[in-house]
């Protein structure tokens, strides 16, 4: 009987606060579902057996824990709203003679009920949707599909364990809150007088300056390596600036507007501005969080989508031909012995009745080096320390003969002695001459705009400098003299050889395998003393791994995107709801003083609109300024397709905005009901 009493009290507590508890329970349910799906996919045998599947599962297992941690933080956040709203009720119970121990039991029952609903519902939905997610993944990996529903006890147990801990923590937190307050405070907790917020001009200014600085950084950074490093600096600056602007900046702006009497004392502005000051003070941090969440979602969605959509492009840049050879040696003469490899390739293709097409064939002298005023100095130079500046001056230099350049690019350039052509990627070459070691400076006759791909360039983050010279062997002499501290020669010679095949992936793999065997034999023939390294890569073999990686990122981007959108939306909802309760009495007074319902509605709308769309707007601005940086970082991944990125970014923003508008409509209705509810009860 007595146990029943607590149970009933808890249940009616949940039911009477439907408006608060339904979204909360749904959130719990959604989090459980997402966690289970992630965990399910991480251990899915179907995925594991697929090419690229293991890569993807590695990424997903990371995602599982991201969701777990996020669930903890987020549920704590939403739970605090619930506790705040219900303190009054608990205070009443307390005064009516229920001890804190009894209240604890009510809370325990409530939490148990929610946990059971969330776990049962979430796991049920998770099991249902996990197959769908699996199919999606298989599709992303471009593989065959099997249609059988399966569940994974291990994932179920893991989900139960993780969320049991989370719910236990939530319960303890609620208990702590109840214990810390005395009944009078519990009753009154919602009506404590609030000081009018003071505008903190210093912080507002700091926010504006930080944001300006971050934007300036984002727009002005040229090379991708610096972009990678500075991106995180910029992100931290933007996060700080967003918080400062929302918390201090917004209040400062409202105060400024209040000082302008002609603007302030207008029916439309009077009520809105003066309540906005309080609203922003209370919600600045929350709104800033929402803004940052939105930006995160958008950046993640647009970049992962772009990577996935551009995977084929990237694959082609990384593996310029269907089959690629990269032969590395430290003696130029060794490259003369590559004839055997050419024949082996020819043979391998012929054995499968295939013709080599679009053959790529050229030599390169390569060296990783510092540049000092256009002089290639090798690895020591006079650089002090390994700071950012030293790193920015580290270049990969590729020397190519003019003959090869003209042949590959279909050009007919000529060079006088002491002249060269250059081509640089990922950074601008700033000097007029190029000097090889202690040799004479060569005048840069022309900076050309393109050169053949080699697959090495995209896999490295350093800027590349191609130098095209007329006398390949002769001009290299000063570079051959450069050594590292152990006296080893720094210069390496590469022979890039690649060809396309007009056949399916399986045949390409067969040819590659055969070629590999032949190459291994050739390598052994060279003997032990010679340094000759042969790398044979096929686009077909690598494709699966590629899709595993990019597809995994894409999938993760979408799943996390959904979770974060969920989170942002719920934060908005609770914010509006709790404000609705606070504004209720205020609007009642306004009506008594002579404000029409229409005026009240208009004032509400303008405030809700501002609060709602300010984060989205600022997120859009953040995204626009982040764009150049994202673009440069994707360059590092070998993706060079600005149009695609713009399209995807704008697309993600629009889809996101659509979600947002829908939520706005639902939320503002709930808010208006609360605000006007008090009056209609009379």
């Amino acid at each position: 009987m007595k146990k029943n009493f607590y149970w009933k009290l808890a249940w009616s507590g949940i039911r009477k606060n439907k408006q608060l508890y339904t979204p909360y329970i749904l959130t719990c349910l959604g989090m459980v579902m997402m966690f289970y799906i992630m965990s399910f996919l991480t251990y899915s045998a179907v995925l594991q057996s697929m090419p690229g599947g293991t890569t993807m599962q590695g990424i997903l297992s990371l995602g599982t824990w991201v969701i777990g941690i996020f669930a903890l933080i987020f549920l704590f956040y939403t739970n605090s709203f619930l506790i705040r709203r219900r303190k009054k009720e608990f205070g009443l119970y307390n005064i009516l003679g229920m001890g804190k121990w009894n209240l604890g039991r009510v809370l325990l029952w409530e939490n148990l009920m929610i946990a059971v609903i969330a776990l049962v519902g979430g796991l049920g939905a998770g099991i249902l949707f996990s197959k769908l997610a699996e199919l999606g993944m298989v599709n992303i990996l471009q593989s065959e599909v099997s249609f059988s529903l399966s569940l994974r006890p291990r994932s179920i147990v893991l989900t139960l364990e993780v969320f049991a801990v989370i719910f236990a923590l939530l319960f303890l937190n609620a208990l702590r809150q109840i214990h810390l307050t005395n009944p009078i405070d519990l009753l009154r907790s919602e009506n404590t007088g609030e000081k009018p917020p003071k505008a903190n001009w210093l912080l507002a200014l700091a926010g504006a300056v930080l944001l300006g600085g971050a934007y300036y950084l984002a727009v002005t950074i040229e090379d991708p390596v610096s972009a990678m490093v500075w991106f995180f600096v910029a992100v931290i600056m933007v996060i700080l600036a967003t918080y400062l602007l929302f918390i201090a900046g917004s209040v400062a702006i409202c105060r400024l507007l209040q000082k302008n009497k002609n603007y302030y004392y207008k029916t439309n502005h009077f009520v809105s501005i003066s309540s906005m000051v309080y609203r922003m003070k209370r919600n600045g941090a929350g709104l800033a969080s929402i803004c940052i969440l939105c930006t995160m979602v958008l950046v993640m969605l647009s970049s992962t989508t772009c990577l996935y959509a551009g995977a084929e492009d990237t694959l082609r840049t990384r593996y310029p031909r269907n089959i690629n050879l990269d032969v590395t040696t430290n003696e130029l003469q060794m490259l003369d012995q590559t004839q055997g490899m050419r024949q082996a390739a020819q043979q391998a293709a012929q054995d499968q009745n295939q013709q080599m097409q679009n053959v790529l064939d050229y030599r390169v002298a390569a060296m990783a080096t510092y540049l000092e005023d256009g002089r290639i100095v090798g690895e020591d130079g006079t650089q002090e320390g390994i700071g950012m500046s030293a790193y920015a001056n580290l270049w990969q230099v590729f020397v190519v003969s003019l003959e090869d350049y003209n042949r590959l690019m279909g050009q007919n350039e000529t060079l006088a002695p002491g002249e060269c052509l250059i081509y640089s990627t990922k950074a601008e070459y700033q000097w007029d001459t190029v000097t090889f070691g202690d040799g004479e400076p060569m005048t840069v006759k022309k900076v050309v705009s393109d050169f053949a791909d080699n697959g090495v360039e995209v896999s490295q983050v350093t800027p590349f400098l191609y130098v095209f010279v007329s006398d390949f062997e002769g001009d290299l002499a000063p570079l051959q003299a450069l050594t590292d501290s152990d006296g080893n020669q720094l210069l390496e010679y590469h022979w890039f050889y690649g060809f396309d095949l007009d056949c399916d992936d399986e045949t390409q793999m067969l040819i590659q395998d055969q070629l590999q065997v032949a190459l291994n034999n050739l390598e052994i023939d060279q003997g032990e003393t010679a340094y000759l390294h042969v790398l044979c890569e096929g686009a077909a073999t690598e494709r699966a791994g590629f899709y595993g990686l990019y597809g995994g990122l894409f999938f993760l981007g979408i799943l996390l995107g959904v979770v974060f959108i969920f989170a942002a939306v719920l934060m908005m909802y609770y914010k509006q709801l709790s404000e609705g309760y606070e504004d209720q009495s205020r609007f009642e007074i306004m009506q008594k003083v002579g404000m029409t319902k229409r005026e009240i509605r208009r004032s509400i709308n303008s405030q809700v609109l501002t609060v709602f769309f300010l984060p989205l707007l600022l997120a859009g601005v953040h995204l626009a300024f982040a764009f150049p940086m994202i673009y440069k970082m994707l360059l590092l991944f070998g993706l060079n397709n600005q149009r695609l990125l713009i399209l995807v970014t704008v697309g993600s923003y629009l889809i996101f905005a659509l979600f947002y508008v829908v939520v706005y409509r639902v939320t503002s209705r709930a808010y208006y009901n609360i605000v006007s509810g008090a009056r209609e009860e009379h």
Partner: protein, 254 residues
Amino acid sequence: MSILEVNGLQKIYTTRLGGNQVQALRNVTFRVEEGEYVAIMGESGSGKTTLLNILAALDKPTAGTVILDGQDLARVKESERAAFRRDNLGFVFQDFNLLDTFTLEDNIYLPLVLAGKHHTEMRRRLTPIATQLGITDLLKKYPYEVSGGQKQRVAVARALITNPKLVLADEPTGALDSKATDELLDLFGRINANRQTILMVTHSVKAASHAGRVLFIKDGEVYHQIYRGNSTNEQLYQKISDTLTMLATGGERK
């Protein structure tokens, strides 16, 4: 000329469940002349609040009419009610009803801002009122920073600043201590001396004893009324007390 005419006012509430009917006002008829200071007394549940809500055009009577300065309240369109209230009536409430997000000055300006007045005009109107009410030094403060008596004086300033035809006061001393009550009642007396019509609903004998006339409501009807005549506040206080005793002990009506 009467500024307010209330004729045969009746209000019946129907409870939501069971359809029980509750008659809050049975038949209320009275007039208020311009410049009068009228107090309406009655116990809880006598229909005071209902009457005030109807006078404020917040609620509609089931039968009967309310005519304010020649204008029938029932004829005022729903969409114009708020503006009508704002322009013709001033309100003073028991719990002040000041907005905590505004400074006291802005609280007073609220009805004028809603009426679309220019801020120099507002300032011009406020200055004499603030001086009269002794709140000039408080104007830049926020409601949470001042005492209950001060809050109520600000609320009075807000009610007066639109130059209303009628000030409706609902239990204005209900939340004040005795000193603040005395001050506020003095204030009402002075405002009334400036020909401002005041209608006050109260069950405080002390508050009512400052009025020029006291109406007693019982069970939804005007049961009795007392004119001040030449009585002092103390004498009127005594008369009111006697009447209330008579009412409470069930004496037959006139």
